[in-house]
């Protein structure tokens, strides 16, 4: 009897350790909304899914590269990440001096982020899913018309080096998700569906139009200047780019 009890206890312990390795997720109840850039009809319908509560941290990514050597700084193929990949790390498995374990991982490419999520049995969110969750403030699922919601995001754009802050340092939104605004930009699975022009390298002029806001006139939501910035970043990104203010989180289908 004692033996069985001990065995069960041991197995429970094993599973708790195992489950703890997976980062916390919350349920996002799907719905219909009008994104900044939609399809042929204006509205987009999102199904139910689970989303990571926090962006992936330096610590979590460190574990990942230890387990998958092909994503170490010295091994990564130039097809999959540019020269700034994991910039600031002291070595393949040691973070830089001012990189906190609990700060979001940045300077990773779309390929790296995509593979990270796949290795956890998850995936990157689509733009529509990400935007759907990100339009919530603390209290309501769609706060895009509120002045203080937009002010918060725009104020963040002016704050320097928020990527050095720890996860959870911004607000918890309606869904229970932290840090969608105020910490880092985040990769999405289909970031390359933002067609500002045919090819990303030609977007220089279009970008400046977007950044000065002149393109805002044709959009569905004139108030959401903050979202324009996100779409502009996506439209000008390439999958192997790495940026010090661009991180990611994963989602999972139910």
């Amino acid at each position: 009897m004692n033996t069985i009890f001990r065995l069960i206890f041991g197995m429970l312990l094993f599973f708790t350790i195992h489950v703890n390795c997976q980062s916390k997720m919350v349920l996002i109840k799907g719905g219909t909304y009008i994104p900044l850039y939609g399809r042929d009809s204006l509205t987009v319908t999102i199904g139910d899914f689970q989303m990571d509560v926090y962006p992936v941290t330096n610590e979590e990514y460190l574990q990942f590269v230890k387990k998958y050597p092909k994503w170490r700084k010295s091994n990564v193929k130039s097809l999959f990440a540019d020269a700034n990949y994991l910039r600031g790390w002291k070595s393949d498995t040691i973070l830089g001096d001012n990189q906190l374990l609990k700060a979001p991982i940045t300077n990773i490419s779309w390929f790296a982020a995509n593979d990270y999520c796949e290795c956890q049995g998850k995936r990157l969110p689509t733009i529509d899913e990400w935007e759907y969750v990100a339009m919530a403030n603390e209290d309501i699922p769609d706060a895009r018309i509120l002045k203080n919601y937009n002010d918060f995001i725009l104020a963040w754009y002016e704050k320097p080096k928020t990527f050095n802050n720890e996860i959870g340092s911004t607000f918890k939104n309606y869904w229970g998700v932290y840090d969608l605004h105020g910490l880092v930009w985040e990769w999405t699975s289909d970031f390359n569906s933002v067609l500002i022009s045919g090819e990303s390298r030609k977007d220089v002029d279009t970008d400046s139009n977007l950044f000065c806001g002149s393109a805002a006139l044709g959009a569905t939501d004139l108030m959401n200047y903050a979202a324009f910035m996100r779409y502009a970043i996506r439209g000008s990104s390439k999958a192997k780019y790495t940026m010090k203010n661009l991180g990611f989180r994963c989602v999972k289908d139910l």
Binding site: T3, R6, L7, G10, F14, R39, D40, K77, S78, L79, F80, W110, F111, N114, R123, S189, D190, N192, S193, V194, L195, G198, E199, S200, R201, K202, G235, K238, A239, K240
Partner: protein, 237 residues
């Protein structure tokens, strides 16, 4: 007895963690060969001198390593992608299986009414300008951005309909994520507008036999001279 049980539990846990790793150490055997290859590929297990030219035999490992290095795909090669693809002939391949030939690639979808027929025409026009003798070393690849609709059968029908069913043409159906990844390598952007309609960038990409991107032609009906000369240049090199 109790201690034994604890040990068993700990062992089980340790084994559980360790089972993911596999370590294999292959020891290379040293083989010798004449550096001039007087006797072709003949090898010796002992050091000595060549029976024809009397030169000292050289260990082969260095040469072999060099060969592997040139055979190895570079960091920039699209052959680093490990996604699986179905051809219009119903075969399942990886991009690496296309190694060895110049690749001219474009992303299209067969239900497209606007840009794709012109993109396909651009591809045909390029193919027409290539000297016939070189065609055996060039593969023109059309990758579908709508893998859910464009099955191998649909792609085959499309190939026949557009007179692109010869050896040098290949059509590929991937997975949704595989296509997204491939488009990211080509810097092609696309977005589904409605179930059978996409907007997408019009880019024809040229890769050398090692899968490295050497040229991209952007836009529809643009002057294809540069693309053609590039294809000929890297194929004859």
């Amino acid at each position: 007895m109790k201690i034994l049980k604890y040990i068993v539990v700990i062992l089980l846990v340790v084994i559980g963690f360790q089972s993911c790793k596999n370590t294999s150490n292959k020891k290379a055997e040293v083989v010798y060969q004449c550096p001039m290859k007087c006797e072709g590929e003949k090898t010796y297990t002992e050091p000595g001198s060549c029976s024809v030219c009397k030169m000292d035999l050289k260990p082969i490992s260095e040469q072999v390593l060099k060969k592997i290095a040139t055979d190895e795909i570079s960091d920039n090669s699209i052959f680093n992608l490990t996604s699986k693809w179905n051809t219009e002939e119903g075969k399942t391949i990886q991009l690496e299986d296309l190694k060895g030939k110049t690749l001219v690639m474009v992303m299209i979808y067969t239900t497209c009414k606007a840009a794709c027929p012109r993109l396909v025409a651009d591809m045909r026009n390029i193919e027409k300008e290539i000297p016939r003798g070189l065609l055996g070393n060039i593969n023109f690849v059309l990758v579908s951005i709508d893998p859910e609709t464009d099955t191998p059968e649909k792609l085959k029908a499309f190939a026949i309909e557009n007179y692109m069913d010869d050896e040098q043409w290949t059509f590929l159906q991937g997975s949704v994520s595989g296509v997204r990844e491939f488009a990211n390598v080509l810097a092609v952007k696309y977005k589904q507008i409605s179930p059978l309609d996409f907007s997408h960038s019009n880019i024809i990409s040229v890769f050398n036999a090692g899968g490295e991107l050497v040229h991209q032609q952007e836009g529809l009906g643009v002057d294809n001279k540069e693309t053609i000369s590039k294809i000929i240049e890297i194929t004859t090199k």
